[in-house]
């Protein structure tokens, strides 16, 4: 059973979004980290990079596979979690604590297209 947190927004590609004012804090879900297995590398963008909603912004690498990360909302990266560079396993340990990037949203209405906790739970079938 994967952990799901109420009050967050979720994407179909298994990112979670926590809204802090105009900033979206983005990570991957517990379900995603379980599917990936041991995460060995997190490929993150640079601060000031801009992404459109749905664009890939980086990747998670496990022993066996790499999985692209998709930006759930459009905007500019204002912070990346540099801790993950040396400790990618933090994503496995607590996927909701191990945020990956913070994005200053250019269109907060895009959040409406994302799922709430109940809808995400239904999507992953748990």
């Amino acid at each position: 059973m994967s952990k799901i947190i109420e009050g967050l927004k979720y994407s179909e590609s298994h990112e979670w979004v926590k809204v802090e004012g105009n900033v979206a804090v983005i990570g991957v879900t517990d379900f995603a980290q379980k599917e990936m297995g041991d995460i060995t590398y997190v490929d993150v963008p640079d601060v000031d990079d801009s992404f459109e909603a749905g664009e890939d912004f980086g990747a998670l690498e496990s022993v066996k596979a790499s999985s692209d990360l998709y930006c759930p909302v459009s905007g500019k990266v204002v912070e990346v979690n540099e801790e993950l560079e040396d400790a990618p396993e933090k994503v496995n340990e607590d996927a909701f604590a191990a945020w990956i990037i913070k994005v200053e949203m250019s269109d907060a209405s895009e959040l409406d297209a994302l799922m709430d906790a109940a809808a995400y739970k239904a999507m992953i079938g748990e």
Partner: protein
């Protein structure tokens, strides 16, 4: 990996129920529903490097050859030299097409009975190999039998494998077996082949017997504390040890000479593909398999382009990992022969970025075989 994902239902090994009961992540491989990992690939990998792990390799194929011409026939289809092999010896080599491309890589067991051989082949290639062998055997006085379905197989690998094998099988003989030799035992009334071989770069054994016996042995090794290991770490382990996987580093398009496995091809004897391999060896081949190490934690994966530092594409990654035992990002790659020398600077394109590195030896990890 040669994942023959035809629409046919997946086959199951004799240990399938055990994998499911252990909660393994299952995935199609070579037409079989196989365990990729039981928990963490890293944990399973390290168990084999540091203690002992057990793999279900019942999907592998067993083809028996016997008869008056058996030696002459096997030597005709096999790249390595089997004349003069002592009973109880095992040899690694390939079967090649006339153009030097590889039908399969395999182990040949010289049985204790005169004129008897066992060929152990890759699961994905069993049908293809058997058809090939049947085609070539015409005119030779010997019999070939595909008994793959009648045999189960486990591999017990790691520095403590010998102790566990002696305990579980009660086989003190295990201690005397040298690397690439085997002996015959009996288990539950059926023949058991105890072979000091493996695919991990560590000391270890491959154990063949009837499916019922293999299931019981699996349970007993697990009860003794041997770590169950899936195909995920089987690949990371063989890769670090510089061992090829058919489909990735050997194929109808990738000859043993290209793959740097010429030492297993005895060009001073006659066998199918010999002339083509000799030509490749003397005239050189277009591409060669190399090891590449990059200066980053990003992971080079199969299919990623290999470039010169100027950005010219000169090759492709065949297998790559962030090595568990070495903590380095390394890969096998097929590159133009002009770029195959050790220390040649090359870069790998990983998604949107390139990562510089250089050509290194393919045996990334110092193997620990019992001599």
């Amino acid at each position: 990996m040669t994942e023959n994902q035809q629409q046919e239902p997946l086959q199951r090994t004799c240990l399938h129920e055990r994998h499911v009961a252990l909660g393994a992540k299952m995935s199609p491989f070579a037409g079989f529903d196989m365990p990729i990992q039981y928990g963490s690939i890293i944990t399973e990998h390290l168990a084999v490097r540091e203690k002992a792990g057990i793999f279900d390799v019942s999907h592998m194929g067993e083809i028996f050859v016997d008869g008056r011409d058996a030696e002459r026939f096997v030597n005709h289809i096999f790249t390595n030299e089997i004349r003069g092999m002592e009973p109880g010896k095992v040899l690694y080599g390939m079967m090649c097409y006339p153009d030097g491309g590889v039908v399969d890589d395999l182990l040949v067991y010289r049985e204790f009975e005169p004129d008897h051989y066992l060929l152990v082949v890759n699961a994905a290639n069993i049908d293809k190999d058997f058809a090939w062998i049947q085609e070539q055997v015409k005119g030779f006085d010997c019999r070939v039998r595909n008994e793959s379905a009648a045999w189960g197989q486990v591999a017990v690998q790691g520095p403590e494998a010998e102790r566990y094998v002696i305990d579980v099988l009660g086989a003190a003989e295990a201690a005397k077996l040298g690397f690439y030799t085997f002996c015959n035992l009996s288990y539950k009334g059926k023949r058991l082949i105890l072979s000091r071989t493996g695919y991990t770069g560590e000391d270890g054994f491959e154990i063949y017997s009837a499916p019922e016996g293999i299931v019981e042995l699996w349970d007993r090794f697990l009860a003794e504390g041997v770590q169950p290991c899936g195909l995920g770490c089987r690949d990371t382990l063989r890769f670090e040890a510089g061992l090829p996987l058919y489909g990735d580093e050997l194929s109808p398009e990738i000859s043993p000479v290209m793959a740097g496995l010429g030492m297993f091809c005895k060009l001073d004897k006659d066998f199918i593909g010999r002339d083509a391999l000799l030509r490749q060896k003397t005239e050189g081949c277009e591409r060669k398999l190399v090891g590449i190490e990059i200066e980053d934690k990003a992971v080079p994966r199969a299919g990623y382009p290999v470039e010169t530092l100027q950005g010219e594409e000169v090759g492709v990654v065949t297998t790559g990992y962030h090595s568990i035992s070495l903590d380095k990002s390394i890969c096998f790659a097929l590159v133009g022969s002009a770029y195959a020398a050790l220390d040649t600077p090359l870069q790998i394109r990983i998604r949107k970025k390139t990562f510089p590195g250089k050509v290194v030896k393919k045996r990334f990890y110092q193997t620990n075989y019992k001599k």
